[in-house]
């Protein structure tokens, strides 16, 4: 995916201005930045939920090959876990029978075997997140956009889901663009990290390659020698981005 000079404005001053970034095939890329830097807006523009004011987005993928995971699982409460997972397939022309079979396979694969008949209200936060993940993966996406999808989970559940997601995207060679506030998460999961400046008129200020080899365990990646120096650099650059507008205002 190639994003060039993307500008997004809701009304008046642009929240994001001239942002460019690349996500190569099979790469895991993270986007970090201060609150209000337009990270989520950029993802919404990539999936077509927000019309950009200017710039270009080239993915070379069809609409159904791009999946998105939001912070909220956004499952339809009146559909069972199985029906929620099968939904994307039926909306794209797969017969209901085949879609339900495929949904069951993905529920099993993500450790939700036997829970297909449950409504979202009857699932835990971690289980709902896995259903949302199955809903995206069942479409066999080539690119997944993630908007802080693990933020609402507790530490243990989060670690387990993140480990499963990393194993899956590595095995299936799926490209990922992850938006997160969590620098540790960004480094431990990604091949590259982009830093956005403070908004409004936020733009990409830095690009960091993460030299931690794959396949990767997200927990062990934090103990890799390259992790700490990169974390320090990112932290210092991010702090400068947050402090700079305050200094200018003062």
């Amino acid at each position: 995916m190639r994003v060039r000079n993307l500008t997004i404005s809701y009304s008046g001053e642009p929240v994001l201005e001239g942002a460019s970034l690349d996500v190569d095939e099979g790469r895991f890329v993270s986007l970090v930045g201060p609150s209000g830097s337009g990270k989520s807006s950029l993802l919404r523009a990539l999936i077509g939920l927000q019309k950009p004011l200017a710039g270009s987005i080239k993915t070379g993928l069809s609409r159904s090959e791009i999946g998105i995971l939001f912070q909220d699982d956004a499952l339809l409460p009146w559909k069972t876990a199985r029906d929620n997972v099968a939904l994307g397939l039926t909306l794209n022309g797969t017969t209901r029978r085949a879609a339900l079979d495929e949904a069951e396979t993905w529920l099993d694969r993500l450790g939700l075997g036997g829970l297909g008949d449950r409504f979202p209200r009857k699932l835990s936060g971690g289980q709902r997140k896995r259903v949302a993940l199955a809903q995206v993966l069942v479409m066999k996406p080539r690119l997944i956009l993630m908007d802080e999808p693990f933020a609402s989970l507790d530490a243990i559940v989060r670690a387990r889901i993140v480990r499963d997601v990393v194993a899956l995207v590595e095995r299936e060679k799926i490209s990922v663009l992850l938006v997160t506030h969590d620098l540790e998460e960004a480094i431990s999961l990604s091949d590259a990290v982009y830093l956005l400046s403070q908004g409004p008129r936020a733009h990409v200020t830095q690009h960091y390659a993460v030299p931690i080899p794959r396949p990767r365990d997200p927990v062990r990646a934090r103990m890799h020698p390259a992790f700490a120096p990169l974390y320090e650099k990112l932290w210092s650059d991010l702090s400068r981005e947050v402090d700079y507008p305050r200094a200018v205002a003062a």
């Binding site: 999936i47 077509g48 159904s64 999946g67 559909k79 939904l87 794209n92 209200r121």
Partner: protein, 252 residues
């Protein structure tokens, strides 16, 4: 304080009701109550048995049921249609919302005499009153519901490749069904209110008409028997509506 077991709440309620009825009956038999104003439970029971025994009640029940269920059905259909259209078309909302707000603000039973003039003393005027009571309730339920629909669900369908028809099928219709079912019990009460008030104002059949007749003949036992009957009918329909709601909204 000892916590009460909620499973046996109905037993406790039934027991208190039985005690109240026994006290009431005893007071009646001891001539402490004037039967002209407050007949005893046994006298009310006798009036009920008499109503059913000679079969007089059936045409009246049929009339009230026809009016209430007709108004309920029409009110639900029209309320949903208007609510959906107003929520999706701002121009229609501009026209309809003030009228519905006005109708909601006034006690709509004041329209009963007008409906008798417009539609006659037959079934139509009662259906009209039930309809207007139910339609306004359902309209606001659907209208506000659609306007407050969870945007995340809409975006989920869009990002999964769904079109407008998919949105209606997978988000709007289930949401509307949930709001309508949530208002169903109140709507049933409104529908019977409309039918009975309409019959009370002018009719030749129906429970409302019987009430009016009992009032004009100063027959308190008959009046209370009919009130008990209306209560029983509404409770049965409430219970059926509750079961339907529980089944269809089992996901909530």
């Amino acid at each position: 304080m000892t916590a009460l077991d909620p499973r046996y709440a109905w037993v406790r309620r039934l027991l208190v009701l039985a005690i109240l009825l026994a006290v009431w009956e005893a007071a009646g038999r001891a001539n402490m109550l004037n039967p002209l104003y407050a007949p005893s439970p046994s006298q009310i029971g006798s009036a009920l048995v008499e109503l059913f025994g000679d079969g007089r009640i059936w045409p009246h029940l049929e009339a009230t049921f026809s009016a209430a269920l007709g108004g309920l059905l029409l009110g639900i259909i029209v309320g949903i249609l208007l609510g959906v259209v107003a929520a999706l078309v701002p121009f229609i909302a501009e026209l309809i919302e003030p009228v519905m707000t006005l109708l909601n603000a006034i006690p709509r039973v004041v329209l009963a005499p007008l409906f008798v003039i417009w539609f006659g003393i037959g079934l139509s005027s009662k259906v009209a009153l039930s309809f207007i009571l139910v339609a306004v309730l359902i309209f606001f339920s659907v209208f506000t519901g659609i306007r407050q629909i969870d945007r995340r669900l809409v975006e989920r369908i869009v990002t999964l490749g769904g079109d407008r028809a998919a949105l209606v099928r997978h988000v709007y219709l289930p949401s509307v069904a949930a709001w309508v079912l949530g208002s169903l019990k109140v709507a049933v009460g409104f529908a019977f209110t409309g039918a009975c008030v309409g019959e009370f104002v002018a009719a030749s059949r129906g429970l409302g008409y019987l009430l009016s007749f009992a009032q004009s003949t100063y027959n308190a036992a008959l009046m209370m028997a009919i009130i008990v009957l209306i209560l029983a009918v509404v409770l049965i329909i409430f219970s059926l509506a509750g079961r339907l709601e529980k089944h269809l909204l089992r996901w909530s």
